[in-house]
């Protein structure tokens, strides 16, 4: 077992080391971009739709990664912010006739405010109160969506319009695929920049040793709240385009299972490691698809695979960053 572990560790470390030379890294990025660009033409509509979903999960997982991976806060109700984004778009465009691009900033602000309301009081407390509060928040949001008239109760909202962007009507699955490509790439860039910034370092300090971080002059509550709100914004943007893409949303899209799935992508990828989290998002979405011909068994096989991964690589599939010593 440990033999096997060390082999995979060395192998993945070597792959990661390859990525660290600039030529290989840029080559790899170019390759990925070309692949993304030609995917709809080469693999057809079915693959495009699946990939669109995977890219949505990249956005969501990277957002949750800011909260869980960077800042070390356990959030069990992340789908609530996804719902806030989706329902804000649904309600504003359907009931108030607001343009999608005007509704989008409202969704972002709405999620940020929700983040402050939930995070503000809870993040002051130590330990894992946040996990419980976020779990409750997730259920409250879903429960409200199920029971309020304005959110369409259990059947949800349908007929959400597709947005225009500078004369481009974002309408076909392929159009949305490219939009989600853009969102995912944006999420990656934002994550990378945040990680390598004053705020990104502050999250690391607080995660490693709250007391020392405070002694060094870092306001731990403010820094955690920033992570929580940024995570909420990622989810709201994902939710907004999710609503526009499907045209219909219902409370069941924002269940606890959804929160767990996103969290799984983050943990699987190795919390805080951006490439790992992206890979994690692809695994949780594409994994069950690739196993499709196993029929009824596929979810169980998938669950066993996840368990095995967690057993053999408890700190995620992506190797630790190489450090000179």
């Amino acid at each position: 077992m440990s033999q096997h572990d060390s082999v995979t560790t060395r192998l993945s470390a070597r792959i990661a080391a390859q990525f660290q030379t600039p030529a290989v890294r840029w080559g790899g990025i170019a390759l990925i971009l070309v692949f993304l660009a030609v995917l709809p033409a080469v693999f057809g509509q079915y693959a495009t739709v699946i990939m669109t979903n995977a890219l949505l999960y990249v956005v969501l997982a990277l957002g949750l990664n800011v909260v869980v991976g960077f800042a070390g806060l356990l959030d069990l109700g992340y789908a609530a912010f996804f719902a806030v984004g989706a329902y804000t778009i649904g309600i504003l465009t359907l009931e108030f006739g607001v343009n999608f691009w005007l509704a989008l900033p409202c969704a972002v602000v709405g999620a940020a405010i929700a983040g402050v309301i939930i995070g503000g009081p809870t993040l002051r407390l130590r330990s894992d109160y946040l996990a419980i509060v976020t779990l409750g928040f997730g259920e409250i949001v879903r429960f409200s969506a199920r029971n309020l008239a304005i959110t369409g109760k259990a059947s949800g909202l349908s007929g959400i319009g597709q947005p225009w962007l500078f004369g481009w009507h974002i309408a076909t699955p392929t159009d949305f695929y490219y939009v989600f490509c853009g969102l995912a790439i944006g999420a990656v860039i934002v994550s990378l920049r945040l990680e390598d910034s004053r705020l990104g370092r502050a999250w690391l300090y607080v995660r490693h040793d709250e007391d020392v971080a405070e002694a060094m002059g870092i306001n731990r509550v403010a820094v955690k709240l920033a992570a929580y709100v940024i995570g909420a914004i990622f989810a709201a943007i994902g939710g907004a385009f999710f609503a526009a893409n499907l045209g219909a949303i219902s409370p069941e899209s924002f269940s606890f299972t959804q929160s767990v799935l996103i969290l799984m992508a983050v943990i699987l990828g190795g919390m805080g490691k951006i490439p790992g989290v992206i890979l994690g998002a692809f695994i949780v979405i594409l994994g069950p698809e690739l196993l499709r011909n196993l029929g009824e068994l596929r979810l169980m096989v998938f669950a066993v695979m996840l368990l095995l991964i967690m057993l053999f690589r408890p700190s995620g599939i992506w190797p630790k960053r190489g450090t000179r010593s």
Binding site: S197, L199, G200, R201, T323
Partner: protein, 264 residues
Amino acid sequence: MTAALLSLSGVSLAFAGNTVLQNVDFQVAEGAVVSLIGPNGAGKTSLFNCITGFYKPQTGTITFDGQALLKLKPHRVTAAGIARTFQNVRLFREMTVMQNVMSGMHCRTRSGAIAAILGLPSQRAEEAAIREACDDCLRFVGVTPDEYDRIATTLAYGHQRRVEIARALATQPKLLLLDEPAAGLNAGEKQELIALIRRIRDERGISVLLIEHDMGLVMQVSERISVLDHGAMIADGTAREIQANPKVIEAYLGQEDAEAELDF
């Protein structure tokens, strides 16, 4: 004498009825190097924790540079100009020497999430300034650039102590609190520490308050010494006065290792 930079008056602290500090009056003058000594468990570290906002005394006032400290959260105390090191070196694990020291600059810089996401020129300039200031602090304490990218906790112990001091200096303090900085150092390293403490005061104009058990070091480096015993301040004076003070000798005689400790 110059005005007091730090002033404690009537500070009492108890945990669940257990008195740790009783009615402590204590001062550090601007530009001074002051030592706080006392037997194990006397309450020295607790006093540091009160000053830095980690412990909240039940009574008393603490004033620093004209500002009341007791209402402040620890990060505000640091921003006000008090930096500290820890009795057991507490570097951020799994982070490099440079990253560790950069934490100190947090309270002296401003860039937030939006500046970082957009990569604004002001943010890049600030990042460069942070590195430069940290480089300066690290060189000052005698850590060389080839060590900057090493994981801090893999350095030799003496160098970890230096990194911790550099990290405290990076907060640009007016007063530096050192909790047993010589613990675990060899004789040569202790001499370097004495020189470093003097340079911190003379070249940087930072006042220093240190807790230390090594009497040789205390006698050499400090202008004034205060003695804490069972939470009470029992003596205060120059090295010579403290050495001759019967109350101090008595306080240390209660300890098994009294002779070693009183080996002035």
